[in-house]
Structures are given as C-alpha cells and as structure tokens.
Symmetry: C2
Subunit: 603 residues, 2 copies
C-alpha cells in the first residue's frame, strides 16, 4: 500500500528522473542518459526506439542502444501518463509513462531504485499520421449527402474480396489463420494494411474445433481477450474449444478480415531485387500466385509435429498418430491405448480416453512440471489477469504491459517464490503423484511453468484433473524410453511390453523455422535459425543468452519474413508491435533495426 | 456544475428523503410515503413494484400504487447507489439509488424539488436467487476433474438444438428474429429460460440485409449497443445495414441462441386451461407444433405494411410495391419512379433511386417533421448517447435509465427547447425546403422527433442528405392525395398525372396487434388492442392518456402474449424488463400486475 507521503516522494523521484532523461536525450547527451540507469538495470524496448523487440542491460547497454537509435528516434515529452500517479513500495518507485518519438507515440513503465532506473519498458503504440480510427475518430459509417452511383459498405467489401489477390496484391500475407493470424489481421485491417490470411481448414476456428473434444482453454478469460472486442462478462473462465472457435469465426467476420479458407501455401520465394515474395497457393483447389511484400508465418508456435522414428512403427497393426492428429476418444472405448509422453497433450488425451472408457497407459520418458489450474490462476496469474485484477484497475492492456516490463533476464526471480507457494499449497497433490511414481519437477531453477513456456514451450501440464488419474492408477504409468513397437505393443527399454490398439505420440513439436523449411527452403530456415526460447541454457533452450524470444514478432535474418504465434495473450499483445512494424514499412517510414538477432541454433 | 456545498446539501436532502421513504414503506405507512411526493410528481416503475411498466402521478397515484403493491413487494434498503453522489442543479437534487424487494434487486433515479420527490424511477434488474452468471460468477467453462462419459459444451449445445422443440418444449417462443427477438433471446438465455426464436428468413440479420442497399442506421452507435457485448471502438457511428446484419448473426451464435431460420409461425392458440400455447410452425418446410408457455411477438414495432387501395392499382402496368418490399434501386436506372409518402422510408428510397440515375418524384400527402442527422446527434442525443457522454461517465446503461426516468407526461417539455435549438441551427436548410414547397412541421406541440416516434412511430425523416434533393429539385415534389392509377401513371386529386414505371407505397404500417390478428385471431387482436403510442391525443395517437406505450414489453389483456420491439435502444433496454417478467413466471414467483392497461383503441 502506497501512503500519501510515499506517493509524493515517488512523484518527485519519477519527475526528476523523467526530466533528467528528457534533457539528456534532447541534448544528445548519451552519457548523461546512461548514467540515469543503475548498474543492474534493464531497458526493454518494443519497437519504439529499436524497430525491434530488444532488451539492453546496464549503462553500457543503454549507451549502445542510444548511440545507434537516438538520432533516428528523437524522443520527447517524457512524462507520467495522464491520470496515473507514481507509486512507491519495497524500495521501488513505479510509474506509467508517455512519450513521443519522431515516428509515433509511446507508453511505458518505469521502475526506479534509489533514483536510478532499474527497469524501463518503452513501447510504441501508434504511428503519427496513421492512427487507428477509434472512439472519437471512429468512421462515420454512412456518407452523408447523396452521391450518384454510391458504393456501399457491402459493395466495397465484395469488390475487395473479389479483387484482392487477383487484381490487386496484398501488402501482407499471413499463412495460418488461428488466433495469431486473426489477431494480427485485425490490427492490420485497422491500420489500413491490405492483408490476406490463408488457412487450409474449412472455417476460422477449425484449429480449435479439430482438437480433442474435452479440450477447454488452459488459460483464463482475462488472459485471452483478442484486440478490440473483449469477451463478454458471461464468458466462461476456461472457454470450451468449440466456443472459442465460434468466437474466432465471428470475430473474423466482424473485423472484416480477408480470410481465405481451404487455401494452402505450397511454396514461397523472396526476390531480393523487387523486395517481393512469390507465393504459390492453392485456393479451393485452384492454383494462384500471390505477391505480397511481407510474409508472416503464423502456423503455430509449436512448429511442426515431432514424430519419433521407433523401430517397428511400420509393422504396428493398431492406430498410431501424433497428438496433433488425435481425433478424440470416441473410437477407443474399451481399447488399449498407450500415450507416449507426459506433458499437456499427453495428459489431456489420457484423460479424455479414460473418460470414454478406454484402458490407458501413459509412458513417461522424462520429468514433467505440473501445476494445478486453480492454483496457477490464484497465485500465478491472479495479480494481473483475474476478476480481482480488473476490479483493481488492472485492465488486460495494463496487465500486458506490466508483464512485458519484467525483464526476461530476471523474470525467473519473480517466478520462483510463486511456485514455492504453489508447492506448499498443493503438497498433498504432489505427494500423491510422487507416490504413484510420477517424476515431476519445477523447472531447472524452480521457476515453474511460465518460464518453461518461454524457454522451450513444453515440459509441463496445467492440471485440470487428469493428474489424479495417474496418481490413483486409473491411468497406468509406465516409465522409460520406447525401444520398439511390435504388431500389437509398445516395448520399453526395460523390456516392458505395453499391449496397444492405439499409440499416440505426444512427442511435441519442432521449431517454427521448420515451417520456413517446408514452405520456402532449408536455406532460409537455417538463415533464420531457431524460433522461440531465450537462450537460458536450460533443457531445450541452449545458450548463449539472447534476451528476447528468438525470431518472434520482430525482424529476422530473412528480410520480409516474420514469425507470429503463441498463446492468446501473446497473439493479442505482440500483434500490435508486429503490425506497427509492418505498417511503418508499408508507409516507407525509416525502420532501422537495432540489435538484429544473431543465429546460434538452427532448430 | 455542482459545487461542493451544493453536493453536501443534495446528499443531506436525498439521505433524508430515502430514510423517510424507507421508514414509511417498512412500517406500511402509505400516507406518509405519498406525502413525500410533490403534487406535481411522477413515479415510473419498471417491474420492481408493479410487475408492469407503469407511471403514476402525484400523491394520489403513489397511494394507489402502494396500496396495491406494498404488501407483495416489501421493499427495503433504500440508499444512494454505491460509488454515486447526489448532485444539485436548477433546483433539483438528483441521485442514483439502490433498493431491494422481496423478489429481487432494484435500482433507480430520484429527483427531488424542495425535499419532495418530483420524479422517481424504480427498476428491477435481477431476481434474487436467479442472478445471471457474470463477472465474478461467470461459468467456469470446464468441469475440472475427470468424469467418465463427460458431456462437453458442444455435446450439450448439439443435444439442446436437437431436442428443444421436439422432445422438450421451450418456455418462451419468440416470433421474429430481428434485433428485438435477438436481444430478448440473449437475456432469456442468460436467465436460463428455454427459448426458441423463429424467423422466416435464411440468416439472422436478413431483416436488415433485405432492405435497400444504401441504408445505414439512423441512430448512432452509442444508442445501438446490444446487451452483453458492446460494439467495438472502431465501429462506425452509423452502421451500414449489412454490417449490423453480420453483427446480429455473430451475436446470435456467440450468445448461443436457439434461433430457427426458415421457420414461419402459421397459427397460434392459447389454452386457458393448460396455460399453454399451441403454435403451428413450418420449419424448413416441415410442419411442427410447439407448445410454449409464453408467446412473444417481435415481428417489428412497425406492424404489418399499410398498403393503400387506390383505384386503378390493378391495371397499373409498371412495378408497384410497399416500401417494405422495395428491392433497391438497381433495376430502375433511367426509369420514372413515383414514391408515395414523405417520411423516412420515402426519403431513403427516393435518395437511393436518384443516386442510381432514376427519374424520381415524391408525392407528399401530409406534413413531415425533418431533422438533420448531425443536428439530432449533437443536440438531441449528445448528452446521453455520444463519445462525449461516455467520456463523462454516462455509460449506455446509465443513459438508458436517465432517459427512462423522464416521465412521458412531461417529456415533451424537455424536448421542445432542443428542437427550438435545431430550428435555429439549421434555419437555412428549412428555408430551402420551404422554398421548394415542402410541408414540414415540428410535431403538434413542437416537441419533435422522439415524441413523434413514441406517439405514432411515423411522420418524420432523419435527414442524411436526401432532403436536399427535394430542396434543389433533383427529386421532384408533388403534393396532394392520390386519386387513382392508370396503366402508366399516378393521378393526384388535382389532376396532376405522374408518369411511372415504378410506384413505391411508402405508406407506413399498422399497429402490432395486426400480427396477433394474423397469427392468432382477430378476437385476440381486439382483446389486446392497439400497440405503441401514449394516448397523447395527437395525430395517430388518440387519447385518453395512457402514461406508457401501449402493450409494449408488459402484460397485455391476453394472458401469456407479449409484444417486443422498437429500435436498438428499446430492444436493449426493455428486453431486460420483459425477460425478468418471463423468468419470474417460469419460476412461479408471484407477479401480481398493477395497473393492467385498458383497451381504448383496436388499431
């Protein structure tokens, strides 16, 4: 709780810092600016200074960033955001801030310790001269006055749908029409960037509809809003998959997206000379060439399914498929089902199969981090994404910025105590799991689920009940590596033979640049390198430290190729920064990229 | 502007009044309660006390209302609403209030003059024990834990869709799936009232899609929100018809309404003994009998088209149709078009025909009230429904209650000065119209558009440009009554002969009880009587004074028959009170109706 005295002190400290920073930047005194940052400090910039998503550390990092960006950015007007008041607590002064650059308007979050910046988040939220038409500047809708041969809204929409991709070319092509492609498409629509989203499925939302039938979102509603239209107050905390699918489908229509169903990208090549992609697609079975300036791969942060190559798979007589192709439990009542893997998909599928009366065995090959959904909601997300948070004035938009303001380098330090609490709260649950022989962990440094998600996008299960099936033996647990398959069984390396009518390979996914290999070339995939992960030097996230998620929502080593994806939160939040980067390029606003990432890993 | 001293005075006055009122009601002292109202005062109740929509006047009216309702209602807890502060201005103290009855929770708006109630609005917003699941009580969405043979959300929706109307019966049947039926259906869904909405068209929203192509809403976005999901910030001020249609279609899906397209009600009869309707419908061409307990006619406040019976219509060789059946201008470029009528539909159709290159004549038969859309927005609606209003904290929900709090008896007094301002602001415009010979008016008492809408639902045009076509002669103006048609012309009573390839009868609509005559019987239509209008004793709204709109959203003389309709504002606001009345009946909560309206007119 901030007292009035603390608040006044915080206001003074923040005011001094901002005016010092403003003066240093305006006068080009980079040394003075850098001196305003603590030795142990982090400046995270989302597009405002760097036309990139970048974090620099300490005065040296600040010096480097400003040396390369200050001339092109010319930021001014550093101030506490209108209607906000700096707060003080635990030795930290915190303030929402606003500023302008020569390209647009920015906002951010500043934290001071002893008068020096400890963390600074700067984000661009709109380009000057290209503001979205919203609220007081919303479109009028009708052209008042009478005009002969008027083109109505419907005429325009129909003409656009007919011409775009045929007589006119989109500036942006988004491959993949899940939540990521849709959220980005909506933002680009509002920014007036001609865009086509293509997806091979029949309807928007089919990405969710096609998954196993008992699936509900594992993240709560406050975390899941799309841009522009929030879920209503009666929306469930954890939306069932078909309900979220219907929402996405309606959203696509209402936001007037050019969304092509039944359309598959067959190949893509970038012409450096013309700065244009040639993308061969097949729409409703008809071949067509698109020539966008920018190509976005939004085919899922999970990348391509990793399908193992066990000896004997070719002679197995039952059904076998990757978890991503699992049709649900309906055909497997009374059947013997073996699920290889012990993460989210494996648990969900085991649970649904068991619910439907199958005989289920889970094969655990390595340790899994498990947190109970309720507990994760209360302890892990509650402060930012909950009914209580909204009641406290932490809107989803603010929560996104608060979350973004915590530097990845030290984020695990904030996470570890939360997971310590969870461990304590659910001790009985973990004791039961351990008693059943299940190997579980809390991440290599005890930092839990969200860090695992950011580092490797795997290795965990948000328990909505299926863990109990393992704990109580309803779902049998086998442990070890798969040695081979026979015609009717999975055989583990200790000789255990698991009879099977069905084998599900819940064996995860590759890196998103695999999509680039498939669509463009292995050469481009290698040029771009691994997507996702931070370089934390933990399992499946090798070093060196990269500071930000690899290749996501920011320029890559391949000009005009971008990766967009992640959960609904990331699709919402980062789509803004990706959209602004694309819009700026369309409008030929200079976008010199600071700190373009190097490639350290290919997959 | 309320000063601090005024505010304190207002708080004191309101506090005293509320505690006096509370004490009088709690002790059953009706005389004391009535004495708290000024001689010149109005208490409007929406369902909270009266299970009706009723206004009583003066202490005598209050005495009558309380004598009949107090015992059944037992209201308590009269207080200023949480977070609100009474205000003082122009001799009036105003306060948002909350209270409870033995059936539910209410809110309202109180205005005091010299310490006595001048206006009191009381509304019921939820039934105790039947609260909607929203915000903190929203559904969880997934059933945590594992359950064999789990029924998923999709399973449930599909089963419901399959069974409702066949194996199970809806409690409510809504005939007509426009904005009215949809908004009511959404509220009933949230209240757990099994409901089917039927509509003869192919898709939700077709009510709008089928209208002339240049149509945009004449009311601005802030006035048009549906319940639960607001239009987004980028939504146009005046939504094009096809865009609002798409919204309604998506909304229907997202709110999980049981909406039957291609379904027509053929006949309906109420069985007093079983308290059940027998409704013969045809769904996708298949006959089916539905047996709802409650029947809602939501087929449009405009009622059935009034098609005139001019001599010679049968021999006219060109196209002729009512405005409601007008297909748009596409077929009429270069054709001679005569539009009979000079209200909204006539102007819109004339404008669209002229835009498409037709030769257009408007036949004015009586005077029309015209206001320019911009002016109406600024002066007529701005304080309650505008970007500015929202910025001032006047949410759509608050605006609805403020509007509802102005008693119909004196509403014209608030309206007249606004229209005086409009007349002044647009003097040039009216001078030009008059110079062109167009007869216009401001309503019989100068109270303008909204009063005409409430009294008769006709007699006006919200100008979005077409009036200029008449003023400048692009659309020709003829005046007088139609005498007859020839094979190729419309002949007026002064002998003027207007050659015509097309005649559009923009001749208005009958009363909504005409729908009851068509569907049920003339006997029931007559028993129910005229719908709409206030009894203002002005043109098309004959006296005696009825105090509220006839038969709308409230009990009628026919048990279990209800009328729902109106613009988007009314569909949103009054659907709540109608839904609560229906829910209470379903749950067998006593709903004694105070002041059931008498029938003074049949049409």
């Amino acid at each position: 709780m901030t007292t009035t005295v603390q608040q006044t002190d915080a206001e003074a400290a923040v005011g001094t810092w901002l005016s010092d920073f403003d003066r240093a930047l305006t006068s080009g005194d980079i040394e003075a600016a850098a001196a305003l940052f603590a030795e142990d400090s982090y400046w995270r910039d989302l597009v405002a200074f760097t036309w990139n998503i970048t974090t620099v550390e300490g005065p040296a990092g600040v010096t480097d960033l400003l040396t390369q960006t200050l001339n092109g950015t010319r930021p001014t007007g550093w101030r506490v955001a209108a209607g906000e008041t700096p707060t003080r607590g635990d030795g930290v002064d915190e303030a929402w801030i606003d500023f302008e650059t020569n390209a647009g308007r920015g906002r951010g979050l500043l934290r001071l310790r002893d008068g020096k910046a400890w963390t600074l988040l700067t984000t661009l939220y709109e380009l000057t001269g290209y503001e979205e038409h919203s609220g007081p500047t919303r479109p009028i809708g009708t052209e008042h006055g009478i005009h002969q041969h008027r083109e109505t809204w419907l005429d325009r929409r129909q003409r656009e749908a007919k011409e775009l991709g045929y007589e006119t070319q989109p500036y942006v092509l988004i491959v993949g029409g899940g939540q990521g492609g849709i959220a980005l498409g909506a933002r680009l629509r509002q920014l007036g960037v001609p865009t086509i989203i293509i997806d091979k499925r029949s309807r928007p939302g089919d990405q969710w509809r096609s998954r196993y039938k008992s699936l509900c979102l594992h993240d709560p509603v406050w975390y899941d809003h799309l841009p522009y239209i929030k879920f209503p107050e009666n929306w469930p905390v954890f939306a069932p998959k078909d309900k979220i699918a219907d929402w996405l489908e309606s959203y696509t229509r209402i936001m007037e997206l050019n969304y092509w169903t039944h359309t598959e990208a067959k190949s893509a090549a970038f012409d450096e000379a013309t700065g244009e992609w040639t993308v061969h697609v097949e729409r409703d079975g008809q071949p067509l060439v698109l020539r966008p300036k920018q190509l976005i791969l939004a085919t899922g942060m999970s990348g391509r399914p990793s399908i193992p190559d066990f000896p004997g798979m070719d002679s197995f007589q039952g059904d076998q498929h990757h978890s991503s192709a699992h049709p649900g439990p309906d055909a497997y009542a009374g059947k013997k089902c073996v699920v290889i893997g012990s993460n989210n998909s494996a648990f969900d599928i085991c649970g649904a199969l068991w619910e439907n009366g199958a005989d289920v065995t889970m094969v655990q090959r390595s340790s899994t981090h498990i947190v109970r959904s309720d507990t994760l909601m209360d302890i892990g997300l509650g402060a930012l994404y909950s009914e209580q948070a909204v009641a406290n004035g932490v809107t989803t938009e603010k929560a996104d910025l608060i979350f973004a303001s915590l530097p990845y380098r030290i984020l695990h330090q904030f996470q570890i105590p939360l997971y310590d609490q969870m461990r304590e709260r659910d001790k009985d649950f973990y004791d039961r799991l351990e008693a059943a022989g299940f190997d579980h962990d809390w991440g290599e440094d005890g930092s839990g689920l969200f860090m695992k998600y950011l580092r490797r996008g795997s290795g965990y299960y948000i328990d909505v009940g299926a863990a109990d099936l393992v704990a109580n033996g309803d779902v049998k647990l086998a442990k070890g590596q798969v040695d081979h398959l026979t015609e009717h069984a999975v055989v583990l390396d200790d000789g255990t033979e698991l009879e099977a009518d069905l084998v599900v390979y819940a064996t995860g996914y590759g890196s998103m640049n695999g999509w680039a290999a498939e669509l463009i070339s292995q050469e481009v995939a290698d040029k771009v390198g691994k997507c996702w992960g931070l370089g934390s030097d933990t399992t499946k996230d090798p070093g060196p430290w990269e500071g930000e998620q690899r290749n996501m929502w920011k320029p890559t080593q391949q000009e005009a190729l971008w990766f967009h994806g992640g959960n609904l939160h990331q699709s919402r939040h980062y789509s803004l920064y990706l959209a602004l980067q694309l819009k700026a390029r369309m409008e030929k606003i200079p976008t010199p990229v600071y700190g373009l990432q190097e490639v350290h890993h290919l997959t």
